[in-house]
Symmetry: C2
Subunit: 303 residues, 2 copies
């Protein structure tokens, strides 16, 4: 089942012809979780064949334009497309002001509800949970209150071994019990242990999003072992001072965090408009953490 | 000298992969006048090599998202690009609410002033004037207060005939006088009439923008004889009832207005997302007014 990240935009505040402002879509078995919502997301989703109505929740990192100015248009378009399902938007308190203004001024009469859930950017806490996934906030440090987000699948059930079910002629009515951990006793009283009837569950997958933020080495404990880390890498390390001043991260720092947190893969983005050669960022990151890739509009990363 | 229209977006509210929401840029001798400002204008301007800092004035037709949701990002980017010159935004009173909110919430500290000038959408009145151009509002009728805009060059000065200046050895200091209408007397007392020293001024050029609006035949008197008319043509005429209900225009109606107003050329846009074959709109319009063209992102129309 899908657990994949769609990059809709990975530029930074100053626009370029190479990149769109920040937005991503995590597809968890057909449910879409949007993370940040820069201007132009609708166009990018349409180019990638992603349905806007499949978005149930939007997680906003912080209230800077390049992470949220796609919201005004997206909310309106969802109404034009006939949305009736509630839309949940999570983010720092400030984001609520934009939503209030939009609802008061433009969207008093739309056909669905937009519900805002403020996120405490100081806490690593549960933000959202459903049957299959948990989302926790990650406290980041930027020029405004900012949160990253950690998406973790809940542990799944083991997979039934079709061949064993057939061999022991186990009725279909028992399959859910067996998935849930039961064993099976045949008519002649032989106990077939649960482990023989199943293969282990798919390991739960995880994704962490950290942007925008200054380098925070202590994040390694929160994001340890995630399958995929998206981390901003606005600058080359030669501009480490600039990164610190503007509360951004260099490629070296992002890769160091990925290494220290022993993540599966690192995807870097939020590229400064001044960087013409993003491969230089990639080389820098890979010198520390080889399993690094560059974000790009249209990229889909299976997790 | 340039007097040309750049189409940045000519779709309607529901986004498509074919078109961006509405925005245009009228380039008057290097000064940029933006008309409407849909989401994605920055990307489109960069693709077309148009500098955002050359925009002095923005004219907004009405407060619908597909005509203004590019403003939040554009204002911020101009600051990132180091703008210090005032930015003037003209539009119906409601547009001021968005600007107030943006300035209060996002742009309290930017390095330039954004000045809002409310436009009375009931009046055909002067909205802006400088040395070379006059802009008048055009009262339109849509679901919100809406104004179109009429751009007219002021009459220019006649052109100096270089050959005559040389032949009569007229000093450079006299050229402005002659442009302004003076004649010249040679040393032997011969009067060289003004008309002999100059060729007539370039005729003033004009452009009218009408979107969004229901068909208003009476506009013909306001826009009579303009060189270029941009008019919305959201629907084919088979959907004339829908056009009337939603206060939009069909291609036939736009062309009828162009014909009745004896304009030089008609450019149609604001295409409904449901229209896959825009050539059908073009054929319909040309059957009534042959000098019709289809708007498209990236199109530059010399006037």
């Amino acid at each position: 089942m899908e657990f994949e990240l769609n990059i809709l935009g990975c530029g930074s505040a100053k626009p370029t012809t190479r990149h769109q402002p920040t937005s991503q879509l995590l597809n968890v078995r057909g449910k879409y979780f949007m993370i940040d919502c820069g201007e132009g997301v609708q166009t990018q989703m349409q180019k990638m064949g992603l349905s806007m109505l499949s978005i149930g929740h939007i997680f906003i990192s912080h209230n800077h334009g390049d992470h949220i100015f796609g919201l005004p248009g997206l909310i309106g378009t969802m109404d034009l497309l006939g949305r009736t399902a509630e839309l949940h938007i999570h983010g720092p308190q400030q984001v609520g002001e934009l939503l209030d203004f939009l609802q008061r001024t433009y969207y008093a009469d739309i056909g669905y509800k937009v519900l805002f859930h403020p996120v405490d950017t100081q806490q690593h806490a549960l933000v959202y949970e459903d049957r299959s996934i948990m989302v926790h906030s990650i406290p980041l440090r930027h020029r405004l209150p900012t949160a990253g987000y950690l998406f973790r699948e809940k542990p799944g059930l083991p997979h039934i071994r079709r061949d064993m079910i057939d061999a022991y002629q186990i009725p279909v009515s028992q399959i859910n019990n067996i998935k849930a951990g039961a064993s099976w006793t045949t008519e002649d009283g032989t106990l077939i242990p649960h482990e023989r009837l199943t293969t282990p569950a798919t390991p739960p997958r995880s994704f962490a999003y950290c942007s925008d933020t200054v380098y925070l080495p202590e994040l390694k404990d929160i994001i340890r072992g995630v399958n995929l880390l998206y981390h901003e890498a606005t600058y080359l390390h030669e501009r480490a001072l600039r990164a610190e001043q503007t509360l951004h991260t260099t490629a070296v720092q992002a890769a160091t965090l990925a290494k220290d947190a022993e993540v599966g893969k690192l995807c870097i983005g939020h590229f400064s408009a001044a960087i013409k050669d993003e491969d230089a960022l990639l080389r820098e990151a890979r010198s520390i953490f080889p399993r690094t890739i560059l974000a790009n509009e249209g990229l889909v990363v299976g997790i």
